[in-house]
């Protein structure tokens, strides 16, 4: 713990504290976990150090999450779109999934995660992928195409307020605001 603290630097730590929803302990813990994933010979975390998506997804907290790859892609700042995370991206991720993050932040990132094609709205294709992620890959849990079509139609009917055939961010947040459980379930604790 002491070594990580000295590695991170006091100013940087307080800056991170200021800019994220994480507490000091959480940041230090995140740093520790991040360092553990780095290769043994080079364990100094620079701002440019990237962990590949596979490495990040080997963490038990994310391993079984059906949205794990989307999460990495959303929080990755990598230019090549490979889903690799720097330490700051990792902190961003934890901050959005932390206890004290606001509903706005959480719903924003949830929207980005569910927006599989990154086009800024949830259209039929996104919803279909979302449903498939939620119900899993096995055949008995998967919905039939007919069910899927009906489901998507109903969802658009419910949540698409301006009736443009897609769910945009504000409509999404509108739905989210009706479900108080979202804030407590959109959490990943390290």
């Amino acid at each position: 713990m002491g070594t990580t603290a000295s590695q991170l630097g006091k100013d940087l730590l307080s800056e991170y504290q200021e800019l994220t929803f994480l507490t000091k302990q959480e940041i230090l813990l995140a740093h520790k976990r991040f360092t553990e994933l780095l290769p043994k010979e080079d364990r100094t975390v620079q701002s440019t150090t990237r962990l590949s998506m596979e490495k990040i997804l080997s963490m038990p907290e994310l391993k079984s999450n059906p949205f794990r790859k989307r999460i990495c892609h959303v929080f990755s700042t990598s230019d090549t779109k490979d889903g690799s995370l720097t330490f700051e991206d990792f902190l961003d991720l934890l901050s959005a999934f932390s206890d004290s993050a606001t509903l706005e932040i959480k719903s924003h990132y949830a929207f980005r995660i569910f927006d599989f094609d990154d086009d800024g709205t949830l259209d039929g294709g996104d919803l279909e992928k979302l449903v498939n992620c939620l119900t899993g890959e096995t055949d008995d849990t998967r919905l039939t195409p007919e069910e899927m079509r009906q489901l998507i139609r109903n969802i658009l009917e419910e949540s698409d307020i301006d009736k443009d055939g897609t769910v945009n961010l504000s409509e999404f947040q509108h739905v989210i605001s009706r479900s108080p459980d979202f804030v407590s379930s959109f959490k990943i604790v390290l």
Partner: protein
Amino acid sequence: MAYSVSFNLTPVMDPDFGNPGSDDTAQDSICQLLWVSKSSLECGSVSLGTQEMETALEDGSVSPGNQEIETALEDGSVSPGNQEIEMALEDGSVSPGNQEIETALEDGSVSPGNQEMETALKGGSVSPGNQEIETALEDGSVSPGNQEIETALEGGSVSPGNQEMETALEGGSVSPGNQEMETALEDGSVSPGNQEIETALEGGSVSPGNQEMETALEGGSVSPGSQEKEVLTKEDRLDKQVGIVMEQAAEETLQSREESKPLVRNRWSAATLKVLSCMPSRSIGCQSAIEVASKRTICHSQQHRYHLQTPNFSHSTRYSVRRNGIEVAPEDVNEEEDKRQELANNLQNMSSGERVRMLRSMPICLSEKRTLRKLAFSGQSGQSLLSREVPCNRLLNRDLRQCLFASLSLFSSLQLWRVPLKRLGCRFGTGVLSYFLFLRTLLLFNIFLFFINGLFLVLPQAIHPPLPQAIHPPNPVKSQLVLELFISLITGTGFLKYTVMFYGYYSNSTINTSWGGTSEPQVMAYNIPLAYFFSTGIAFFITGIVLIYSVSKSFGRSFPVFKSHGNLAIKLFCFWDFKVSKKTSVRIQSENISTQLKELLSEVNFREEERGRLERLCGMGFYLLAWTICLGSTFCWVLGIYSLTAKMGNTLPNEAHLLVVPGVVSCGNLFLPGLFNLVSWMENYSSPSVCLYVAIFRNLLLKFSILGVLCYHWLGRVAPQNGGVDTSGQHACWEDLVGQELYRFLLMDFIFTVLHTVFGEFLWKLFSQRVLQRRRKPVFDIARNVLELIYGQTLTWLGLLFTPLIPVVQIIRLLVLFHMKRSSLLMNCQASRKPWRSSHMTSVFISLLCFPSYLGVAVFVNYTLWTIKPSSGCGPFRNLPFMFHSGKQWAHELAKGNPNLDWLNWVHSNLVENPLFLFLVAGIFLMVIYVHAQVLDGQRRVMDLLQEQIKNEGKDMKFLITRLQDIHDRQPAPSPALPTGLQQQGSEVRNEHDVCGV
């Protein structure tokens, strides 16, 4: 105004285009105009934006998106691939570029080509094939087909694929969709389009041409036969055909223009799609952050704000483009710098606390935030050179902030049971977690109670024990010491009776403490009765405030103001519990969601199947029977307890007898809920939530009616009988008796909970797994366990007046319960299959804790304080007519000693003793509630109006876009040889290029 805005922005919008000709400008002006018109729509001036747009469109300067690319291609200055990919990425709907492959990779899915590529990528061996594919994609030969790539990869040979591709591209061959279609047609299949399209859709490689085809075909205006013939003759004809079909479909949409039809984006041409993708509502990223930031800076004038907002728009598009991995031109970087500066300026106008909050709540990446923060702070330090106070102030602020953060993190490091709670959450999800969180809340309540009582009451009394003759501790026989100890611990009698644990030990004297050394001793008088009265009262008061606050807060969170239209969307968007990370639990959650979605869908399908009259009558009969059984058994049980207590009161107190009543009551609490469960199994309620509420109501009724009877027993029978000097000449102390009884109840309840955990969960698991050979483990019953917690807490509160240290017992009980339940859960139970609306239920439980439990206790305690005569021989309130007189006495004494404090006496007599004051307070309270309800009602109405308005906005937008498309279609096509419908395909562009080249 709109014009100027749009033209200002043109270079920002399209810096990638080699020579931004007039077409580009027009293109972007549509973009802008639509946006402007939307904003003007928001302002309410509809006609202006539309008009302007129409004029812009009618200028004839509009061209489809492809022309730009075409010109760019002719110039050869810009690589078209980037553009096309960029557009495609912005649109999101077009398959071609990296995106598709990436999404395919994310899916890990279907088409073999992608898989190949994935494996190749994963292998890390950058085979030349991949490179070629990449280059091919960058070349702008966009959807040349996964097929070819696939074959190239499958062949493992590098050059042939490349060659093939190149030849295909050089040949200017048509889009792969058409190719596939052609082969399909040649196969002789009758309805070619649909099949092929379907397979293409399943493959996940949807090229836009196919999609359009599909929509056109679904329009029903195409006869496959004629198409087949034409297609068989020549590819170009097919193109034409498709184009015509497209036009037909577009016309149809124009003609029908149904309002109910959603805005299907696939029908629009590339230009429209681009416009759509530029809409501010779809560009996420910095946008929202900046909007929030600019919203808060009120000091700007309207003009200025407008100026601010418009660049933000471009910034956000730039942002999304950048995120998509496209190179940013150098001038963009400058542009971005400007925007950042602007945002930083915005931030500087806020106070530092607000700035931190704002920065934290911006949905942008951390490195961006850091630069912003640097900018914001550096700018301020530059300004602060003018006045020297500011940096000092800032320094102080910063220190304060750091202090605050340090203390906050200290607090959160004290957070109880972080790791076990995380494990439980990982395995059982939010529902079970809410039980443990509730337990933790109760623990904190009790720690608070213990803190207040221990510090202000127990500690002073323990330091200055009352005179020994006041109490008569029995001398235990040495040989039976352990047994005595055990019995007294179980029953609360014996030596335990003569400790600070119970009411009777406390003296009615004033402790005089002196300190400050021997030379100048200062004397402080500490009035024990007063301390008793006030510490209990304040503890109750603060608990009540906290409870009401948390109830109102949780209600505000979990009960939406407006009615929800359906649950499907909520299920879909909010249901996944990201905490759950155990593999089996994830699987269970998936199954759970799947079944729920299916159920909901079937519910939507068959709204309400009419049940027969006989069936309904039968159901009613069952309900009646079930309720009769439940209420009857509750009533009998309560009656039994009543007569039992009456009988026990008459017999001589004996250690064994003392335990009878608590034992019987706890036994009933254990078994009657089981009976209720059986009965509700018979009832067969349609919705699970109704079932849950009914179960909660029955359990609650049972527990609280028993508590009511017991309270009557204590206050109505025990108190008057044991107030004075009993027959043996000893001072009887009814407060002690009641306190001991409550202590025993708490203990017994705990013992029975332990038994239930061991037998109900552990042995049942063994039984069902070994004997019944079932694989499933039992499920943790959250509602029942939480109700038990509430019951225990009620006992604790009831006992607080008579047993000041009863919170300690409860704390120990809760600690043991936590560890026991946790290990029992991890060992014996599995995640529930039923849905659990945890935050809703948490607020229900908190309100149950508040309403019957706390309120009942408050009534009990107040009744005791105000109307029951305390025992004359023991405790701090001996010789007083009522307990609350201690306060009155104190006020009198104070007034006597210091005439200035006479008002205290007046306050006491008028406010505390006069019921009018209470009525007044209650009346004000009710009025506040009424006003709030009215405000809520008004807000609901406004919300309905606003929703209606949003719907109208959507209709307007749809109308505008359709209009745009309409005008766009009527324009003379730039290259008349080709229909406009298919121009958005990348390979088509190449085709066009060839035509133009000729």
